[in-house]
């Protein structure tokens, strides 16, 4: 009798553990709670597509003018412009969404006291914090990638229809650009920028695990204060340069950008991707080290802090 009971117990226990996936469900629950993670980029994408439709009025004429240019690089830049703008705007939106997500992730649950419910379940603080940082580092780039591709495809379709209606061949788009190659560049850029900003997101997550109110101010003001006091106290700007490097320099580390005729950086070849250099940039690894430190402290705070 005891034996059978023990066996069935063991069987049901192992059957139960098989479908227990705390990390997976923690990530899903973040997506349930924060619908803005995909709604905001979708809205921006819709606005971009709508805005692009409004500019199609002169498109056939512009395309004819572009086709008359002699420099293929210029032709390519001109045709790709709406695609690049769409990609950059959606990536920027994802960054903003990610920052605000992180600022609220460990603060909101304390403010609405739901932390008491989450902590009544067998999910460790480490799993919780890792599932939250996964959102900006993995989920948002994946969402952005999908939305950017769909948006660019919509732009391509609209362009093609308009051109056909005005007697211009839509094949001119494909002849002068390489959309497949661009999506590879995009994927690389998304990975590079999310690793580059891992310390930014982790800092926000740390602030959100620590503050009792005004998470946004606590995340920003110390940074400004340090830069300010360094400037008036020592007359130097090391801290400011460090922050500026973080926000301005990921592209120049991840890509061998060259300047185009108008002085704007041009990125049109896979050979401009420099993952080797990027992965050996000290700034990347120092940033990741800082990110790990922030997350470790966030786990400790998650463990000891209660509702605010």
């Amino acid at each position: 009798m005891n034996n059978t009971l023990a066996t069935t117990d063991a069987v049901s226990a192992s059957g139960a553990t098989a479908k227990i996936r705390p990390f997976y469900w923690s990530v899903r629950r973040e997506l349930w709670e924060n619908r803005s993670l995909y709604v905001a980029p979708l809205i921006v994408a819709a606005v971009i597509v709508f805005g692009f439709m409004c500019t199609t009025v002169g498109l056939p004429e512009r395309r004819r003018a572009v086709l008359l240019l002699n420099d293929p690089a210029q032709q390519r830049t001109a045709i790709e412009m709406p695609y690049d703008i769409a990609a950059m705007m959606i990536m920027f939106t994802a960054f903003i969404v990610g920052v605000f997500y992180c600022l609220d992730a460990l603060y909101g649950e304390r403010r609405d006291r739901s932390i008491l419910f989450w902590k009544s379940l067998p999910v460790s603080d480490l799993t919780t914090v890792l599932s939250k940082i996964t959102i900006p580092l993995v989920i948002l780039p994946v969402i952005s990638f999908a939305i950017i591709l769909v948006t660019q495809f919509a732009i391509f379709l609209i362009t093609s229809v308009v051109l056909v209606l005005h007697g211009v061949s839509p094949a001119t788009t494909l002849a002068h650009t390489n959309l497949f190659q661009n999506s590879l560049i995009l994927a690389y850029a998304l990975v590079a920028v999310s690793l580059w900003h891992a310390p930014t997101y982790s800092w926000m997550l740390f602030v959100s695990s620590w503050v009792k109110r005004a998470a946004f101010l606590w995340a920003i003001l110390p940074v400004i204060a340090i830069a300010f006091f360094e400037k008036i106290g020592f007359g130097t700007q090391y801290f400011y340069s460090m922050i500026r490097y973080r926000f301005a320099s990921w592209a120049s580390e991840a890509f061998a950008l060259r300047l185009g005729p108008k002085g704007t950086p041009v990125l049109d070849s896979l050979s401009q991707l420099t993952p080797g250099r990027y992965l050996t940039t000290p700034g990347l690894w120092l940033g990741l080290l800082f990110a790990v430190a922030c997350l470790a402290v966030a786990v400790r705070f998650r463990r000891s802090r209660g509702p605010v």
Binding site: A13, A16, T17, K19, I20, R21, P22, Y24, W25, S26, R28, R29, W32, E33, E109, D112, R113, S114, I115, L116, F117, W118, K119, S120, L121, P122, V123, S124, D125, R303, S304, G306
Partner: protein
């Protein structure tokens, strides 16, 4: 088997001790009522047991140290803080999915079954439910967990009397058995008098009274004393005296029941009355 065991449990916030060296031992299969005034240290004690706060001293819950092993402990411990802690944005159906996905001892079918007895819709979000329905939902989730220890911190706060009654009825009839242990704190002392098996009064971080309910009823007796017997009653050193409708009600501790019966009508005292008596004696002693 011992469910909770503490020796010299202390917790100090800045300089004020919230728990001032508590020793306790709660056996499996008991329902303990933890009663105390605001700020007595009840919630701190529960937080220590749940691994939500660090502490000094020794504490073992189901053989584990809560602060270092919260995650493992929560497989066997359930916890309802008060009705306001369920995430308000979550749908009932998502909540069932989530629980089934993270909790190895959660029985989804059981939970659905409990919910079928309520008017809660699976598509509703928590914020759309009334306070009473949120309590029902939380109970339906918790009762579907095959846990060994259930901690209730003011579980019926803000609920109307129907939900409160129903809450304890479901808990006793559908959940509690000899292998489970329940610890409950509440200010609604009267509604747990017939639910709990053990009683603990705590004040200023110390245990001031600890008893099984059987001993409690043997130890304390209340008498409605006729005016002519007042002096005789006072001679027996009652621990509390209060006027009720022109007569006096005396509370006695450890006295001969026959002697008391001679003074007037005797009855079982409520926990609330004993609580008031013990607490006012405490504050007198301090003065």
């Amino acid at each position: 088997m011992t469910c909770i065991e503490a020796h010299g449990l202390r917790k100090v916030y800045q300089t004020t001790p919230a728990l001032d060296g508590i020793d306790l031992r709660i056996e499996e299969g008991r329902i303990l009522g933890l009663i105390g005034p605001n700020g007595a240290g009840k919630t701190t004690a529960l937080n220590a047991i749940l691994g939500l706060t660090p502490y000094e001293g020794q504490l073992k819950v189901l053989g584990r140290e809560p602060w270092t092993a919260r995650e493992e402990l929560m497989r066997e411990v359930c916890f309802i803080a008060d009705v306001a802690v369920l995430p308000r944005w979550m749908r009932v159906a998502d909540m069932l999915d989530y629980m089934a996905g993270v909790h190895p001892r959660f029985d989804r079918a059981k939970s659905v079954n409990f919910l079928a007895g309520t008017t809660i819709k699976r598509s509703s979000k928590v914020r759309e439910l009334s306070k009473g329905m949120v309590a029902q939902l939380h109970l339906a989730l918790v009762m579907a967990i095959d846990a060994k220890l259930l901690i209730l911190d003011e579980p019926t706060l803000g609920l109307d009397i129907l939900y409160r009654k129903q809450f304890y009825d479901s808990l006793l009839n559908d959940y509690f058995d000899a292998t489970r242990t329940i610890v409950v704190t509440t200010h609604q002392v009267e509604e747990i008098q017939d639910v709990i098996t053990d009683l603990m009064f705590i004040d200023q971080g110390r245990i001031v009274l600890e008893s099984t309910m059987e001993n409690f009823e043997l130890r304390y007796v209340e008498a409605m004393v006729n005016p002519e017997a007042l002096d005789a009653a006072r001679a027996l050193k009652p621990i509390h005296e209060r006027p009720v409708f022109g007569r006096s009600v005396f509370l006695f501790e450890n006295v001969d029941r026959n002697e008391i019966a001679a003074l007037g009508e005797t009855r079982r005292p409520s926990i609330a009355d004993v609580f008031v008596a013990v607490m006012s004696k405490q504050s007198e002693a301090k003065r």
